[in-house]
Amino acid sequence: MSQWVRIGIKTRIKTTHYPAQAETAPGVSPGLPQGGAYAAADVSSLVNLCPTKAISPGLVKDSLIVDYRRCIHCFRCVHGATTPLRWEKGWQWAAGGQKCDGVASGPEGNRLGRVFARSVHIIVVDAGDCGACLNEVKQLNNPYYNMHRLGFFLTPTPRHADILLVVGPLTEHMRLPLLKTYEAMPTPKRVIAVGACALSGGVFGPSFISGAGVGQALPVDVQVPGHPPPPLAILHGLLVAVGRQTPATITSGAPVSLEATTR
């Protein structure tokens, strides 16, 4: 077995330095489209290109708003457009809950707080996921991301879990298992919805069998957009949940009130 020890040591440390330093390797994130000012001629064509209505005209003239809850990374606003939408290859996308829309509602807000800052146990529930979000969560356990170094651990039992991480649009058959899991968790507990499907139903819901996201069944504390969100975005979401990173906004290019524009 010594060969395995040897190869382990020879591989050296591969782990990213995020959040201490930015990760610059290519291909870690697909990025997200950016709202804001666009030429008047492009606004309506870009709005029409989006199959999930994630892009809408802004309140300010000649501007666009992108709702990240609906963006499914189809790239039609890039590959199919005469003037493509601006894309940014970041990943710090995690926003606050659906009620407070990225704004902390108190000193601790809806975060778990300092007590949990370095020891958080996570249970993952697959509520109809296509395999991508789940696989990206799985990558957090691999040496490149290694979420243990930041104090995050996966647990198979809800009794030990502080955070419920949900992926998928919430199919009818998974509603009861999800609710049972949530009820079995001790308080305080937080819910992170990961991926466009968990936030809005994605391409699947709402329909006769899948819902329009996890928010219909549970109070969501942190929203991680992306289709799927890359591992670093999910890591950012976890850090937001424990108050170690500041949340982003769930829309891009929104002028003032989110409530008024993202309906």
């Binding site: 077995m1 060969q3 395995w4 190869i7 382990g8 591989t11 390797a25 291909g27 870690v28 994130s29 697909p30 990025g31 199959p51 499914i72 990374h73 189809c74 790239f75 039609r76 890039v78 590959h79 993952v124 529930v125 697959d126 509520a127 109809g128 296509c130 395999g131 991508a132 789940l134 696989n135 990206e136 990558q139 356990n141 691999n142 040496p143 490149y144 991301y145 996966l154 647990t155 198979p156 809800p158 998928g168 199919t171 009818e172 058959h173 998974m174 009861l176 298992p177 999800l178 899991t181 391409v203 699947f204 709402p206 329909s207 006769f208 069998i209 899948s210 819902g211 289709h227 799927p228």
Partner: protein, 526 residues
């Protein structure tokens, strides 16, 4: 055997009861027969002529049912479609699953979704629509059922139990799932036992059923492409490719050569990544942590490679009927090939090390054995079938995207145990890297897209997905929208055969057998 030989033989046996209809440009041979003859013809094709069963397609025409049974065999033979029509009020059909066992789940699905009855089928009941949640008589795939109607709150019956099979003193059933084991997909298992060994393994699936086939109806092909790409992300490119190819067959266009080669290039990149992930799963199930971490490194590198090359780590948003949405640079492809060469070198090194890790091999060898006969009658596909001596690779049998221009061998093993499946995954990963190199070298200049019209018609699309043969049936209506999108994914075939491997093996082997079977719940539940 070409279609004229086949039609001669048919004429000899059944005279003019069976009508043959060949479509040369679609290279598909349609046989329409009365319902009563169906079992006989299916047995003849499957047992005597060695055809494989690909799936059952049920269509509800305005006036009648049309059931299409897909068969295919070898490169020289056209795929055969046995067609049975009946008036809408006649809902009983003969079952073929006693001889073509692979049709078992297809018939159960048709019963659940359309309310059809299959005479002679042994076990119909709780399947896609769970019996504890849905009342009797809901038939979601019928035209009158509204797919957009949102779900009314339903209270599951707490007293409902999955039926138990083993009735012996001391017998008990161990339930697992649907939420279990950290990062597993949602599925429930009922393992029945009287002690150490699993006697009966009953997977209960479709917790993740998203009704793709239903919600696709009435949408534009562009929208359905999104569904095809997103119902199973670990083989997204393969399923989007099968959809695009069906669209291209209906539209009568062929994508330009550069697009075809790039498609092969990306499909093999996806296969390589999938196989590395499957190998990681096997290492993890045997608790060989270092090997699992090494595989995880390779998987993440392949994900990043896809991300850097195409913009998306799971290759979303690139395929479109008629070619690709955007071109890839030759230089980027060359760099990707160089990177895969390095990944393959490290994969080979890990393979060698695993071959000498006795604690690892002990958990795989002679565990979860599936015999060749069982693999064939259950219609297993992909690496699982090839480890049990059933080869049938669609890239060879029904070549698409110029696969015939590339040199590769489909690996085959005959032991049918976990170790054979592991070896197949390693061998196929190496083949994929080699095909990527060939496709990269054969890239020619030119466009990557031909406009593909949305004409009315129907066609079969197929692709050798990472987990095996994937078929889809696409019908476009007069108004250019999708009228029927039937998915026959490889996991649906292989989940049906999982019990062959798990039964009569010890409990502690179960997770390992599951890992070597390389199943996707998302792909099955669709």
């Amino acid at each position: 055997m070409n279609s004229s030989d086949l039609s001669q033989q048919m004429a000899q046996r059944w005279h003019d009861q069976v009508r043959m209809h060949t479509e040369p440009q679609r290279s598909c041979c349609e046989m329409e027969c009365p319902a009563g003859l169906l079992p006989e013809i299916a047995r003849w094709l499957f047992a005597e002529l060695d055809y494989s069963f690909a799936g059952l397609i049920v269509e509800e025409d305005p006036a009648q049912w049309a059931l299409r049974y897909e068969f295919h065999r070898a490169r020289e033979d056209a795929p055969v479609q046995v067609l049975v029509r009946r008036a809408l009020d006649e809902k009983t059909f003969p079952s073929i699953s006693d001889c073509v066992h692979a049709a078992d789940w297809h018939e159960r699905e048709a019963e659940d979704m359309f309310g059809l009855l299959f005479e002679g089928h042994p076990r119909l009941g709780d399947f896609i629509l769970h019996d504890d949640v849905w009342p009797e008589g809901v038939e979601p795939m019928r035209h009158q059922f509204n797919a957009q109607r949102s779900v009314p709150e339903r209270r599951p019956n707490p007293h409902w139990r999955l039926r138990r099979i083993v009735q012996a003193p001391g017998a008990f059933a161990m339930p697992i799932g649907p939420v279990f084991s950290g990062l597993a997909e949602s599925v429930h298992f009922q393992l029945e036992t009287v002690g150490e060994d699993v006697i009966r393994c009953v997977p209960r699936l479709f917790y993740k059923y998203r009704g793709i086939e239903k919600i696709a109806e009435g949408r534009s092909p562009e929208d359905v492409l999104l569904l095809a790409e997103r119902f199973c992300a670990t083989s997204a490119f393969a399923h989007a490719l099968s959809f695009s190819q069906a669209m291209e067959t209906i539209g009568g266009v062929a994508p330009p050569p550069r697009a075809r080669r790039l498609r092969v290039f990306l499909a093999e990149l996806e296969r390589l990544r999938h196989h590395v992930a499957a190998l990681e799963g096997i290492c993890e199930s045997t608790a060989l942590t270092v090997a699992a971490s090494q595989m995880a490194l390779l998987q993440e590198e392949l994900l990043r490679l896809g991300g850097a090359l195409t913009g998306h780590r799971y290759l979303f948003g690139l395929l479109t009927p008629g070619g690709l949405r955007c071109d890839l640079e030759d230089g980027a492809c060359r760099r990707a090939i160089a990177a895969t060469r390095d990944i393959l070198r490290r994969l080979r090194q890990l393979e060698k090390m695993l071959q000498f890790s006795s604690s690892f091999l002990d958990r795989l060898e002679e565990v979860g054995v599936v015999g060749t006969k069982d693999a064939r009658t259950h219609g297993l596909v992909g690496p699982v079938a090839r480890a049990s001596g059933v080869v049938r690779d669609l890239r060879k049998v029904l070549p698409y995207c110029d696969y015939e221009a590339f040199t590769f061998e489909t690996p085959m093993e005959s032991e049918g145990d976990g170790y054979a499946r592991l070896r197949i995954l390693f061998a196929e990963a190496a083949q994929s890297a080699s095909i990527m190199q060939q496709a990269g070298a054969a890239l020619c200049a030119g466009p990557v897209h031909t406009p593909c019209p949305s004409r009315p018609g129907a066609a079969l699309g197929w692709v050798e997905a990472p987990r095996g043969a994937a078929f889809c049936w696409l019908r476009i209506s007069e108004d250019g929208q999708v009228a029927r999108y039937r998915l026959m994914p490889p996991s649906f075939a292989n989940w049906h055969g999982l019990h062959l491997a798990t039964e009569n093996f010890a409990f502690q082997d179960f997770p390992i057998i599951l890992a070597t079977f390389d199943l996707s719940v998302a792909e099955n539940d669709r």
